[in-house]
Symmetry: C2
Subunit: 248 residues, 2 copies
């Protein structure tokens, strides 16, 4: 049996969104490093850098020191081809729900081609609707229904552990199903879509939010290939041109 | 498919030996409760009770409040039929090494008949040789060889998670292989063995430690049935009687 592929783990990113407690950031860095993960991205952390983060990181201060801080989750995911959100199960979200082993397998498979991300929300409020709309699937850790509140770093530990076990178990993964559009390509598509819908007066430009969020969710869940994004943008351009032509 | 057996999780005990930081005790209680475990036993904690333990327990203060404090690990394991130690892999220990899923399956199987335990050592020094000698097997979490130091509560989270996943996956477990001797029965056997070996002048009564530790390890690893303990004690009694007879 050949060895697991050393290129995969560096392509798996842990993104912590709007973390309140700096100690949790450090503990998450430690949890990641024990399982061989090193790519940590912080989106709008409440308090960072901070001595408590350093203390909780213990021997993983290198992971912490290399962490990238981003203003938005879109920025953190710009170059990723797959982002999975970690969430307690909630009934009102239409999404693909994965178990940790399923998520680990999906991430490793896609990590062969491009960076992928696991996204963890705020300790108290979890992932916001906007953050969820940037994820192509959700991972839930089967917990005690009477008390399912894992500490943030404990959740990072469980997911990182499952990724490592899956990585150790398989020297080769099937190729990704398709060449998925990147985070940046998806954002450009959404901008184009929003502009086009505004021009078509389908969208109220003063409050485009709710409809755009629904559309983002739909396309995130679907996970678009690069080629599909090109086709959709072609349609948008044709619709815009048709409208301009009619306006003449 | 029938539901998982609700009697099993209450029979699985988490034992924290000589924990230095009270915060870790609280975080471990929280990790347990998220996975439906509730039986926490503390052996000689450095600082306990403590407000930091309460704070880190979050919504699991009930588990913490119900925790039993013991002076020795033998006391904590007195009524158990199986105790597995959690340890980073060390080359010099002859023992059965289990992966977390293997350990979870073993614990659930044995928990049908009697209490079982997962034993976690001190944060820095791990399990002592004496503590290891009370465990019938060791569990190791496959970690990054360059940094394998999981936080104590993070290790509790991973093992508790694996126990819950195994528990959810199987409504029925095969019966335990044998009626294993309990912790108390094993301790009585060791006392008997030590007395007998001293009488036979095989053991230096001034420093019986090293040999007894080796014998404990051997019998712990083997895992004795009740009946086997009775046979061995019969042999010891015969040897003692023979000696007394010769002395007359």
């Amino acid at each position: 049996m050949s060895a697991p592929d050393p290129k995969l783990l560096p392509n798996i990113r842990v993104v912590l969104a709007r973390t309140s407690h700096p100690g949790n950031i450090g503990a998450a860095a430690r949890a990641m490093k024990t399982m061989g993960l090193s790519e940590l991205v912080l989106v709008g952390p409440a308090i960072y850098p901070n001595s408590q983060a350093d203390a909780m990181a213990s021997g993983a201060t290198d992971v912490l020191a290399a962490a990238r801080v981003c203003a938005t989750l879109a920025e953190a995911l710009a170059d990723t081809r797959l982002a999975l959100g970690v969430s307690a199960r909630r009934r009102d979200i239409v999404a693909e729900w994965l178990t940790p082993p399923e998520a680990a397998a999906r991430l490793l498979r896609e990590a062969q081609a491009a960076p992928v991300a696991l996204v963890f929300g705020n300790e108290t409020s979890g992932l916001s609707n906007e953050e969820l709309s940037l994820c192509q699937g959700l991972v839930t850790i089967a917990a005690n229904p009477a008390y399912s509140s894992l500490n943030l770093a404990a959740a990072v530990q469980v997911l990182s552990y499952e990724i490592r076990q899956a990585w150790l178990a398989r020297p080769d993964w099937p190729q990704p199903e398709m060449e998925a559009a990147s985070g940046v390509e998806m954002e450009n598509f959404y901008s184009h879509l929003e502009t086009a819908l505004a021009e078509l007066e389908f969208l109220n430009p003063g409050s485009p939010g709710k409809l755009m969020l629904k559309l983002r969710r739909l396309f995130s869940r679907t996970r678009l290939a690069k080629e599909e994004v090109n086709i959709l943008r072609g349609i948008l351009t044709a619709a815009q041109t048709g409208r301009h032509r009619r306006q003449k």
